[in-house]
């Protein structure tokens, strides 16, 4: 298959349709799961899908060095290329690399001002204007204030892009009736989409727990293969 076909046939098209055509520009989405259940993998899946259609993705990671993030992409890309028999693999890989910018921060060094400064420099020197921003390892929701979350929304609005943020859930978290931990749902009005990753013995199930203003979030027949970390049909 060629790059474009992989895009068109990706299970993520179903995911997109299930959340009314996607997260949407200017909006913030959350991917939550327990530690080690595949948040980063799913975020990279989303990013790769965007990158393969030449949309610019800024991947922000707190705690991991650039090469680790890059290795993550390379691994998932190569699994994707292998399973989909991707033609002109090297060129597709170059498309991915050209459209992606990774910014990583030490835990103590991260701030929204720095992110904005980074985007300004990228735009000025590299003509890089992100269409999707991934924030992996965002400081804990449990400690976040309204202002912190508002900053994420502002980021999405200011640059007119989609912002995906990871959140770690714990077993002991108090949850609302949709199953969203209250430490996250207290920001409900600011978050457009919330995805939960639920680990089972041999797969990780994707659940849409909040879908914009839709009261009944669609059931999603998708899961994450824990071996390849790719999204697949259930």
């Amino acid at each position: 298959m060629y790059r474009k076909e992989i895009n068109e046939r990706s299970p993520l098209r179903v995911f997109e349709r299930s959340i009314q055509g996607g997260l949407g520009k200017g909006n913030v989405g959350v991917v939550m799961s327990r530690a080690g259940a595949g948040k980063t993998a799913f975020l990279v899946d989303i990013a790769l899908d965007e990158l393969m259609r030449e949309r610019k993705v800024l991947h922000i990671n707190i705690d991991n060095p650039v090469e680790k993030v890059r290795e993550f992409y390379d691994e998932i890309f190569s699994d994707l290329a292998e399973s989909q028999k991707l033609e002109r693999r090297e060129r597709a890989h170059l498309v991915v690399e050209r459209n992606r910018l990774i910014q990583t921060y030490g835990r103590e060094s991260f701030s929204m001002d720095k992110v904005k400064e980074g985007i300004r420099l990228a735009s000025e020197h590299m003509s890089f204007d992100p269409e999707v921003i991934i924030v992996d390892g965002w400081p804990k929701f449990s400690k976040a204030t309204d202002d912190d979350v508002q900053e994420l929304v502002n980021l999405a609005k200011q640059y007119n892009c989609e912002v995906w943020v990871s959140a770690r859930a714990r077993r002991e978290d108090e949850r609302d009736d949709r199953g969203i931990p209250t430490k996250i749902s207290r920001f409900d009005s600011m978050l457009s989409v919330v995805i939960n990753l639920e680990p089972h013995s041999d797969h990780i199930r994707l659940q849409i727990v909040k879908d914009h203003d839709n009261k009944d979030a669609a059931s999603l027949f998708l899961e994450l293969d824990p071996r390849t970390l790719l999204v697949k049909w259930r």
């Binding site: 991991n64 060095p65 650039v66 910014q103 835990r107 103590e108 980074g118 000025e124």
Partner: protein
């Protein structure tokens, strides 16, 4: 010490000492050899003074403050045999680093307590990660002003994402640095005596007790993740040192934990506890999985470390020493004995092992035999570095280390006849030692060309020629090693025909030339019905292969092509091997340019690190050089930018980055891949090539 083989594998440690240039690696190595030899001398009453023992045998290395050669030195500590494999610190010598990392089982990562994690530490760490080398860290230079081991530990966590945990805290820093507190034993270690050889074990000074207790808590929390027994013991409040050591060892072996030790090698503080840690926490040869390729089945096999299995050993380093030419080998399984015959798997050559030895810091010890897991030196063995030796009972090779093609070349000219003869000797030696270093004669210009992995790489060899071989040479400007290939498939149909009295030449071939990402050169024949007699098919392959040396587009070597021969014709009298080779060359000349040729250029992974306020300036220098920024990392006021930049744009970058950042940024670079050169670069290369061709035909 006995000249018999060491067979207690759990008593062997093959370790490397990896570090940034100025972090004091050489001093630390010297001190390690000093302390270990000292103990040794006391036991054997040899009265030998081990001072001055050094791994950096080459004069040049000391002068530049970098280590080029990777020698292996044997020493002993606490009943264990430690082979220290010297890992070159500079990234330009990638293959040497990779070779060294290949044969070692664990490493000490040395960091400067003032400068902390620098861009080169990051490169070294990247290499260690690639080879899954478990490591312990040593924060050196605690006597220097500005020393802060706690900050360096944090940087290990943040910048290198090591699960780093302090196993000690310093007693005094800078000028007051006297020793360390061992957080496992909860004792103070004060280093006394002229050379720090006397360790006085004392109670923890009262003013440090609170800090020591807090740090111990942090350490136990981190370490207990690797041992349920320890976790339970913590709940029951009966933690033992054995439980802690065992848990740390488990964490280190899986690379999930990096225990941090500290001291000052220069001031003789903290080295002995580091040696204890090497023995305690780093893996023995059986705890690391190494694979070979069984050439009979073409499948990979895990070496079994047994001294009784068929021999598999890897020559990882050639060295000229005062004792003669040495080949360092790591034995993966089986036993090597004096007088044995071995087979060089690459050449099939059989050879007899006359002499083997263990290299101590500054003396050599002849031994009778050596067994799996050990590293020894062989005498008078003719081979290239990277060759595998077996005893002939098994047909296997240690999986080859990927040898990248050289990316830069330089013409050299000897200044006189004497230099000329010496230069030949030097080049012969270097090319055997280092597969990424090449030397050849440019047939057109009659220049000797040397090629390698970077400017510094070649510079070092030019200087070694002068110093070690008295071969003084002048050098030309460095040139990038471009390549070329095609984008589109081309069908060819070509007849080679010559009739000039006597027997003529005739060969007709038809087929396809296509781009091929898989391999540099591939040939297949789909000829049926004997239209091209089978004896000439290999002539066609040979003809095509000879074309790969130089393309018709920009005159550089051609890569990534597949040739498929589909049909053809021959003549009973006039066809010959030569005629079909000529046909292949003719077809290539005539059709190659129709395949949309492109030029390929070497692209380097460049990492620049400097204060955050220079982020814009650094980005600008990279973008001006056609850089593709991969990512940026920001921490503690410093930013590191990783970018892929064409090598041709990197000449003189050291000066540029210095002036752009007031000398505050530094950079490292290593080969990443070959990438398509932009049209303007290709055009320029093509113009030069056409000029050269025109000049040649006049």
């Amino acid at each position: 010490m006995s000249s018999k083989a060491i067979t207690e594998l759990d008593k062997i440690r093959n370790i490397g000492i990896s570090a940034h240039i100025d972090s004091g690696k050489t001093t630390l190595t010297e001190r390690i050899l000093f302390y270990t030899d000292r103990i040794h001398a006391i036991h054997e009453v040899r009265g030998k003074d081990g001072v001055g023992a050094t791994m950096d045998s080459m004069e040049l290395e000391r002068e530049r403050g970098i280590t080029i050669a990777s020698a292996a030195t044997h020493t002993e500590w606490d009943g264990h045999h430690i082979n220290i494999i010297d890992t070159p610190g500079h990234v330009d010598f990638t293959i040497e680093v990779e070779r060294a990392l290949r044969v070692l089982d664990g490493a000490i990562l040395v960091l400067c307590s003032v400068a902390g994690v620098q861009s080169q530490s990051i490169t070294v760490d990247r290499q260690m990660r690639r080879y899954n080398v478990p490591a312990i860290a040593f924060v050196n230079k605690c006597d220097r002003s500005g020393a802060n081991p706690a900050r360096v530990t944090e940087q290990l966590r943040d910048k290198l994402s090591h699960n780093a945990v302090m196993m000690q805290i310093p007693i005094g820093l800078e000028a007051d640095h006297r020793g360390v507190i061992d957080l496992v034993e909860m004792k103070a270690l004060i280093f006394e005596g002229e050379n720090g050889e006397k360790i006085s074990i004392e109670e923890i000074p009262a003013d440090l007790l609170a800090e020591a207790e807090a740090r111990r808590e942090v350490m136990l929390d981190a370490v207990s993740m690797f041992s349920e027994e320890l976790m339970e013991a913590m709940l029951d409040e009966n933690v033992t040192t054995e439980l802690i050591h065992e848990a740390v060892r488990r964490g280190v072996l899986t690379r999930e934990l990096t225990p941090v030790f500290m001291g000052s090698a220069y001031k003789n503080r903290g080295v002995q506890p580091l040696l204890d840690a090497v023995v305690r926490y780093l893996p023995d040869p059986t705890q690391v999985e190494n694979t070979a390729i069984d050439l009979d089945s073409d499948e990979s096999m895990i070496v079994d470390n047994s001294p009784d299995s068929p021999l598999i050993s890897l020559a990882f380093k050639l060295e000229v020493s005062p004792y003669g030419q040495l080949t360092y080998v790591r034995i993966y399984q089986g036993t090597l004995s004096k007088g044995d015959s071995m087979v060089n798997v690459r050449t099939g050559q059989k050879l007899k092992l006359g002499r083997l030895a263990r290299m101590h810091a500054d003396q050599m010890q002849d031994i009778e035999e050596a067994a799996a897991g050990d590293i020894v030196a062989l005498f008078g063995v003719d081979c290239a570095s990277g060759d595998t030796f077996t005893d002939g009972k098994i047909n296997a090779t240690m999986t080859s280390i990927h040898v990248p093609e050289p990316v830069i070349k330089l013409a050299i000219k000897p200044i006189d006849n004497k230099a000329s003869a010496n230069m030949a000797k030097a080049l012969q030696r270097f090319t055997k030692e280092d597969p990424t270093f090449r030397a050849y004669l440019d047939e057109e210009t009659n220049d000797t060309i040397i090629a390698g992995m970077g400017e510094l790489h070649l510079e070092v060899y030019v200087e070694r020629m002068k110093r070690e071989f008295a071969a003084e040479v002048t050098t030309g400007a460095p040139q990038v090693a471009y390549r070329e290939t095609i984008r589109n498939e081309i069908a060819f149909n070509y007849t080679h025909k010559k009739q000039t009295g006597g027997s003529g030449q005739y060969g007709k071939i038809q087929g396809v030339i296509m781009p091929n990402e898989e391999a540099d050169f591939e040939f297949e024949s789909k000829v049926t019905g004997g239209n091209v007699p089978s004896e000439y098919i290999s002539a066609v392959e040979k003809g095509f292969k000879s074309c790969m040396a130089r393309g018709e587009y920009v005159g550089y070597p051609v890569v990534n092509l597949k040739f498929r021969l589909e049909d053809g014709a021959s003549h009973a009298v006039d066809s010959s091997d030569n005629a079909f080779q000529a046909a292949a060359r003719g077809a290539f000349r005539e059709f190659y340019l129709q395949g949309k040729p492109i030029a390929l250029e070497p692209v380097m992974l460049v990492s620049v690190e400097g204060p955050t306020e220079f982020q814009g300036e650094i980005l600008a220098t990279l973008m001006q050089r056609r850089g593709m920024v991969v990512g940026t990392t920001e921490d503690a006021g410093f930013v590191r930018i990783d970018a892929e930049v064409p090598l041709s744009e990197m000449f003189g970058y050291a000066t540029v980055i210095r002036s752009a950042t007031q000398g505050k940024a530094e950079f490292t670079m290593e080969f990443a891949r070959y990438g398509t050169a932009p049209a303007e670069v290709a055009e320029e290369l093509r113009e030069k090539w056409l000029e050269k061709k025109a000049a040649g035909s006049n």
